[in-house]
């Protein structure tokens, strides 16, 4: 079902969206170059074309250790940025440097830390959903008006943990928000082979969870839907579900030869719907903002990315001895 029309965000907030989305793309484009130069170990994933979702999920949330729990999916680098992770530490993570939030123990967007209330996601798809329900339960038990939010891809909806997590959330009526990013693909598998019910928001009906479906390439739509869902959850109206319709603008990972299975004409259509281009048009055509303001944002982003890479490159690697440390916590938090 279509979401309620979100009220129009201020120009300031619109510029804010533009800044974060641009920063997200800036960081990812730079990281992709570094990967291609062989400067990043492991494999590399980008969320290009899904920046409106990554940023739209995070902006409505309260930040910091006492803020809202956010467990983003690997496409959502922007969520980490908005929720507080400094860009240079994300580069450090990709590089496996000591300054990464995992001190090199984990890679790509397996990023997290108490200070941002971002748990460190695992590879196993949908595993973070029950954890998010648990965090929401904790807030509910303590009577705190905090919410727990997680995002995941369309293929994750096939996993048992998606089902168990959503059902428990509904029964316990916890303040959790679930964001499904329907980009039409799970690696090389089209959503049609993933499920017969490709309108993912309809799956929430099995649990009695209110759900909406929005255009995931429309930053305002995503932001508005998430804001409404978060408000509802915070107000004690239980878990909420949002489907964001988008498209994976390339391979599953940087090494994936997606040309072999992805229809190029569809890809072309979607690149016309690029969320950043679209936001620029909205800002300039509809809101008649001076091109200069966007220019300023882009310059700021360039500079921040440059500095971030510089910091990360200057950063050292963890000492080998650290591999032995940290399996167990010594004292309770």
């Amino acid at each position: 079902m279509p979401p309620p029309q979100p009220e129009r965000v201020s120009d300031e907030s619109a510029i804010d969206l533009y800044y974060w989305m641009s920063l997200t793309r800036g960081v990812e484009e730079r990281a992709l170059n570094l990967y291609r130069q062989g400067k990043l170990p492991g494999s590399y994933y980008t969320g290009r074309g899904q920046e409106a979702i990554a940023v739209g999920i995070a902006l409505p949330l309260r930040r910091g250790e006492a803020g809202d729990w956010l467990s983003p999916w690997i496409r959502d680098l922007g969520s980490y940025l908005v929720h507080g992770v400094p860009p240079w530490r994300i580069f450090a993570q990709f590089m496996g440097k000591a300054g990464s939030t995992t001190r090199g123990k984990d890679g790509n967007l397996h990023i997290g830390g108490r200070e941002w209330n971002i748990p460190c996601q695992v590879s196993h798809m949908a595993d973070m959903i029950p954890l998010t329900v648990g965090a929401a339960l904790a807030y509910q038990q303590r009577g705190e008006d905090r919410v727990a939010v997680t995002s995941f891809g369309d293929a994750a909806t096939s996993r048992g943990d998606f089902h168990e997590g959503l059902n428990i959330a509904a029964v316990l009526e916890v303040p959790a928000v679930f964001v499904a990013e329907n980009n039409g693909w799970g690696y090389s598998t089209p959503i049609s082979k993933q499920t017969k019910v490709t309108e993912l928001y309809r799956k929430a009906a099995s649990y009695g969870i209110p759900a909406v479906s929005v255009d995931g390439n429309d930053a305002f739509a995503v932001h508005g839907a998430v804001q409404a869902a978060v408000d509802a959850a915070r107000a004690g109206r239980g878990p909420q579900f949002i489907e964001c319709r988008t498209y994976r603008m390339g391979g599953h990972a940087a090494h994936d030869k997606y040309e072999s299975y992805m229809p190029m004409e569809v890809l072309a259509e979607w690149s016309d719907k690029d969320p950043i281009k679209r936001l620029e048009n909205a800002l300039i055509e509809e809101r008649a903002l001076p091109e200069g303001r966007l220019e300023t944002v882009r310059d700021r982003v360039k500079e921040e990315v440059r500095q971030a890479v510089e910091l990360a490159e200057r950063d050292g690697y963890p000492d080998a001895s650290e591999a032995h440390e940290g399996v167990f916590a010594d004292e309770a938090p």
């Binding site: 830390g113 460190c120 029950p130 038990q141 940290g326 167990f328």
Partner: protein
């Protein structure tokens, strides 16, 4: 001091920790109004309310994941598997999320997964598993296996207070059979995780064991005494972390080691003990490192077959005599 069964001791430990710390809560199937399939959570919901003793849907992976998330968000969840056997469904959540979170970002996961464990109760292949060896290999989980009512109480409280995920294996056979005077109450003593106990002291032989077979081993030690053989009986109490020093000290003293557990032999925790002893106490060994354990089969249902599966006093006694005679 009240005399409590092992099961009552578990219930008392839950009561006292929930009294002592508002962050502690129980969750699981039928744990609330019903007080659990065995009654381990009896009275908790009545006393602490529905938010602190939560009836969940039948979803073991979900239960584990929710407990992990709640723990990370500052609570102290104690999740119950209706039978330990069903923790197979929570295996992924425990090893993927719980066990690796602190290593990766230093964020502790203080939760307890209570697993009613073990056979000898006519439960058949799906209500009798010993689950400790599903987890001891995997870095990041603590594993606690009490053999006495006092430890059921003290170690459960210690597990709840531990900042790490703990798989708490409570042996169903001991639930009503083990009794002891246990000092309870919010201020009562809390045991220490990672300390083995010399349950009985002797010089001729070291019996290394835990849980239900610890009780068997004690009476075997009596029979041995009658034959003039004195045995050390080491109750490991916690498998991870393992108090290997106490084990090695005993073996260095006796030179002969008999490892006993109910869980099946191959890849059971006894294999790790044997390996450590054969490496670190090699010079002191006067006889082959010997294991007595359950059969390498599922645990069959009908009594005659289940008895065949389970290690018996006779099995332990025979192995002990062979070692002494060696």
């Amino acid at each position: 001091m009240p005399e409590l069964t092992y099961l009552e001791a578990i219930n008392a430990a839950l009561h006292d920790e929930m009294e002592a710390d508002p962050r502690v809560f129980c969750m699981g199937e039928d744990v609330g109004r019903q007080g659990g399939a065995f009654g381990a959570t009896k009275g908790l919901q009545q006393r602490y309310g529905v938010m602190r003793s939560i009836d969940t849907p039948v979803a073991e992976a979900g239960i584990a994941g929710v407990a992990i998330g709640a723990a990370m968000a500052g609570q102290r969840p104690v999740a119950e598997m209706q039978f330990g056997d069903f923790v197979s469904i929570a295996f992924d959540q425990l090893i993927t999320c719980a066990a690796k979170m602190h290593y990766r970002i230093g964020w502790a996961v203080p939760m307890v997964m209570r697993c009613p464990n073990g056979g000898g109760v006519g439960g058949g292949p799906y209500h009798s598993e010993n689950v400790e060896a599903w987890f001891h290999h995997h870095a990041g989980l603590k594993i606690v296996c009490p053999a006495t009512a006092a430890d059921a109480y003290g170690l459960l409280r210690a597990s709840i207070r531990d900042p790490n995920p703990v798989v708490f294996c409570e042996h169903k056979f001991l639930y009503r059979r083990e009794k002891a005077e246990v000092e309870t109450g919010v201020d009562a003593d809390v045991a220490r995780i990672g300390e083995a106990r010399i349950a009985r002291s002797g010089d001729d032989l070291s019996i290394i064991t835990y849980a239900a077979t610890m009780q068997l081993s004690l009476s075997v030690a009596d029979s041995l005494a009658a034959e003039g053989t004195s045995a050390d009986v080491i109750d490991l109490r916690t498998l991870i972390p393992l108090d290997i020093e106490t084990v090695l000290a005993s073996v260095r003293k006796t030179g002969k080691v008999l490892i006993v557990h109910e869980d099946n032999l191959t890849g059971g925790f006894g294999a790790e003990i044997a390996a450590l002893v054969a490496q670190r106490a090699f010079e002191y060994l006067d006889a082959p490192v010997t294991r007595v354990a359950g059969l390498d089969t599922p645990i069959p249902f009908t009594p005659v077959l289940e008895r065949e599966y389970l290690p018996t006093e006779e099995d332990i006694l025979r192995a002990a005599r062979d070692l002494v005679a060696y």
